[in-house]
Amino acid sequence: MKNILYLIFILLLFQNYSYTQETDLYSLGNRRLFADFLYCQKDYLRAADEYKEILRLSDSDTLHLKIGLSYLKSGSLDSASVYFGHVKINSLLYDYSRQAYYKCQFLLNHFDIVELGPYYYNPVDKLYKFSSLLGYKELPVNKEKFLRPFEADERRAAFDFYDRKLNPPYKNELTAAVLAALIPGAGKIYTQNYTDGIFAFLATGLMSYISYTDFNAHHQFRGWLFAGLASFFYGGNIYGSIASVQIYNAGINFKLNSDMKFYLEDKNYFVPDYEFCK
């Protein structure tokens, strides 16, 4: 009886070993499945590492593309470009990888490379047109030439950006200065800083009025003191109106650029997603 009990204990202790897994977890197929799983879980950097491990054992264009995509998704654009560039010219994935490569170059602001890109790829041509909107080169005067690569549903947005870039609703510095000189605060109102304008008018007006009443009451020192303060606010307001125009115009540029960025992100930079996640 005692021996049987010992035997049961020994069996209990070693039962784990008897059920050990015999499947090779590190087989190429399993690693590929695991890497795909990581990619689909948006764990892109780990997915790239896993794909690279498989790549050491078996070279394939799909792996190069998937590594490039993983790096692209994780924002490592330089590494992504390298792997997109490794896809061979005779591969079925070549066209897609080239487009993804130029998307990376566009995101890296390497507009000169995008300019030299193959124009028979429609997305590259569109990206080049957007690089001129982002200030890489002068906008083409011919609107039709600019809009040519865009499809019907994209034309409206592209034209809107083109028009906003060509005719930005800038304010004029001289107008603001003249307005501020004529009526203190009017320059700020011109740049849509309404309350700033009202307060500038009140400050200058109040100081001028106090100075005027002081001079009338023969308080020379106080009169000059408040006259000095009125000039201080008056001069500052003219200067501030010019600065305000510059900030307003910088805001116009910023708004256009951020609108373009959102549009391009929404359109995935005209390069369709390579979907392999179910």
Partner: protein
């Protein structure tokens, strides 16, 4: 039999024992609010006589008015620091005009949120670089956005 069971029991305990051997202790936290004027340099020495005079004026203001009054300027940098930085970045005339403009904007207590980004200290971020009339120096930040400054 009992011995074997005891050995298994103890070994099981050791498997689930704590692996972190660093003793936990009280964290050394400080809840003291940092003084807003801690970055101020109260030295009045400047590179030029004009700079020294201006610095004396600003330090006098800090020492006798601002520090006593408390952290009341809604802007970052504060108006006095803005003045010093403006003069340093441009010249005395332009710096004074920049300060006059800032002083006027400081009066506007109604519509600040729709004009300025928010600095780390929760004040309105308004650096002199925006007002030097040099377009290249303008780094536009939309109003209401938080800035790590």
């Amino acid at each position: 039999m009992i011995k074997t069971a005891a050995i298994i029991l103890f070994s099981t305990l050791s498997i689930y024992a704590q692996t972190e051997w660093v003793k936990w202790g009280k964290a050394d936290y400080s809840y003291e609010i940092k003084q807003s004027n801690s970055h101020r340099q109260y030295s009045i020495s400047g590179n030029t006589a004009g700079e020294t005079a201006l610095k004396t004026l600003a330090v006098g203001y800090w020492f006798f008015i601002s520090d006593v009054d408390g952290d009341n300027c809604p802007f970052s940098p504060t108006c006095s620091s803005f003045f010093l930085q403006s003069v340093k970045e441009t010249n005395i005339v332009q710096g004074t005009l920049m300060f006059a403009d800032r002083f006027t904007r400081d009066m506007d207590f109604i519509d600040r949120f729709s004009h300025y980004p928010i600095a780390k200290n929760r004040h309105f971020y308004d650096p002199p670089s925006l007002y030097t009339l040099n377009n290249l120096k303008i780094k536009y930040i939309p109003a209401g956005e938080y800035v790590d400054k």
